[in-house]
Symmetry: C2
Subunit: 343 residues, 2 copies
């Protein structure tokens, strides 16, 4: 033995223990990934917790999972509150299970600080599938997480993908910006509308028309359903990306998804399958996956930079820069240059 | 003449023209700032547009404004929709104008992509003050801006401060996270509640209790107003930062602010004045201004980093990293490390 390892040992105390912890963690992660791939729901849940909480094992988990990903079709469901997202999700799960597919469900609530294994209150009916090992259901909160949806959701999607899910349904609870974020994460985006809710116009306003791959007119037994379909057709006829040659033209499906009826769900499932084929044949699937990975890389890099700024913040450096701005002897842009020079 | 300037001229084409543009812009900005300080509303509006749109002159404008800032008291108004934020803002403007104060109003709509000089629909009554040179009213959209509220609002506040406003009222349209952001920008945060809306509990939930400097129970002629005051008193008695020695204990004012009545507004104005004195005497004002400057510096630095990532994005670098992740030969954390190494 030379003295070099000794010197290293002084710089990083207790190297054996560190190596031991690393070794144990690696074994744990490897075992968890193996078990998750064999269909063990507890291991899937544990892996999601590890990546969602940005635990120290996060990087290791991501590295272990990535080679096993790329199979799942991520299907995002968006639409105004009350349009029937939960019942539609439940009906889609039933249909996919009937086809023997393995299914993941992520219910994302951007307004809630609560997360984890607990089901959302109005999702109790999903417990139909609680004993079914082919379904993983997870509710997640994005508020308070580093970078919100952009950070936590892709991590959980990777776990469900590696665990062998054929389809992962991502449903957002609530409204606004997060709907568009979900669309950016999905291979296939379902936009749900209901008759008489003015959803068509809302959708156009929010930019949802542009991100829709499939329209689902739910509650189609209500008055005005046909008018809603006509409104959507008219809006689609106005152009946008759907009018380009070789483009996917979003089909409009009519459903009546309720507790005991799944009318129209088979057609939605068939359309989702067609969209998957189109994604593969057109190259659009590869393009979306790459775009998604790029966004995720950016989000991780930004979180790392924020962390470093936090360190500067903790030190006196940023405080001194801020005081100079308040005193009027500097301005925030000059100060930002100096901050960046220190990172 | 040596040959070196010639060589430089080749690298940066038309240096004379660049210098000319710079010279002209500098003169423009200087003149605009001078006119704004003299009370010219058009110059104020032009400066806000320059900083809000992140125009090339942005840095120059910030540098020219900063030495003239530090006078205005920034008063944030938050509260649930329907609580009467607009009418209260209008009543406060009337009261401040009656005292001969110069007033700025920023109405921030985080959900709207529209911005600029146009007044929000429900703010037409503010046109009472449209011909009054002592009031600047501006509606801003934060959606779509670099970093949202964190970016655009401090810039506009700086303009109004340098323009000699004694008080700037910042009112947010809508709900959620943006309310807390407004509080972080303000010297004095007014939390508006109304009887019978369960606002007290909402406020506690949203963390608004912790950020309130003054509570305003609006619509105090309604049933339940006294109960609302008692609820707030009880919640304040439970502790938090207000219970520390030397701390400011948020007063609770009752108002009936409507189109033609300003009952209680005088008391609110007096309380705002008292809070200003406390901010100065306690050192809390300086602390908040410094904290605010630190946040702004961070937001600008992050926007700069995002811009650089955008450049990498435009190039093939991020694309190649993303493709490696999709192919399963890298993972997003390793890719983020490589991206950061390239910045």
């Amino acid at each position: 033995m030379s003295e070099a390892p000794e010197a290293t040992a002084v710089q990083t105390p207790a190297p054996a223990a560190v190596a031991g912890r690393r070794g144990r963690r690696a074994a744990d992660v490897g075992t968890l990934v193996q078990r998750a791939r064999e269909g063990d729901a507890r291991s899937v849940a544990r892996l999601i917790s590890l990546v969602e909480d940005a635990s120290p094992a996060l990087r290791e988990v991501a590295a272990a999972l990535t080679p096993h990903t790329g199979h799942a079709q991520v299907v995002g469901l968006t639409g105004s509150p009350g349009v029937g997202k939960s019942t539609t999700t439940t009906a889609l799960v039933r249909g996919l299970r009937a086809e023997g597919k393995r299914v993941g469900v992520l219910a994302v609530d951007p307004s809630s600080p609560f997360s984890g294994g607990a089901l959302l209150g109005d999702r109790v009916r999903m417990q139909d599938h609680a004993g079914d090992s082919g379904v993983y259901i997870r509710s997640m909160a994005s508020r308070g997480h580093l970078g919100g949806l952009a950070w936590a959701t892709p991590q959980a999607l990777r776990v469900l993908d590696a665990a062998g899910c054929d389809v992962v349904l991502v449903e957002t609870v609530g409204v606004g910006q997060s709907e568009l974020e979900i669309a950016s994460l999905a291979d296939t985006t379902l936009v749900l509308v209901a008759p008489g809710m003015g959803d068509g116009i809302q959708a156009a306003k929010a930019g949802i028309l542009e991100v829709a791959d499939v329209f689902v007119v739910n509650k189609a037994d209500r008055d005005g359903a046909d008018q809603t379909v006509r409104d959507l057709r008219y809006m689609l006829s106005l152009g946008g990306r759907h009018s380009e040659a070789g483009a996917w033209r979003p089909p409009i499906c009519k459903t009546v998804a309720a507790r005991d009826t799944d009318n129209g769900i088979d057609e939605v499932l068939a359309t989702i399958g067609k969209h998957r084929s189109w994604l593969e044949s057109s190259g659009e699937g590869q393009r979306r996956r790459t775009e998604r990975a790029a966004r995720e890389i950016e989000a991780i890099a930004l979180a790392a930079i924020r962390g470093r700024m936090g360190d500067v913040h903790g030190s006196a450096a940023l405080g001194a820069l801020a005081e100079a701005v308040v005193a009027g002897v500097s301005d925030p842009f000059r100060a930002a240059d100096e901050l960046l020079a220190q990172l």
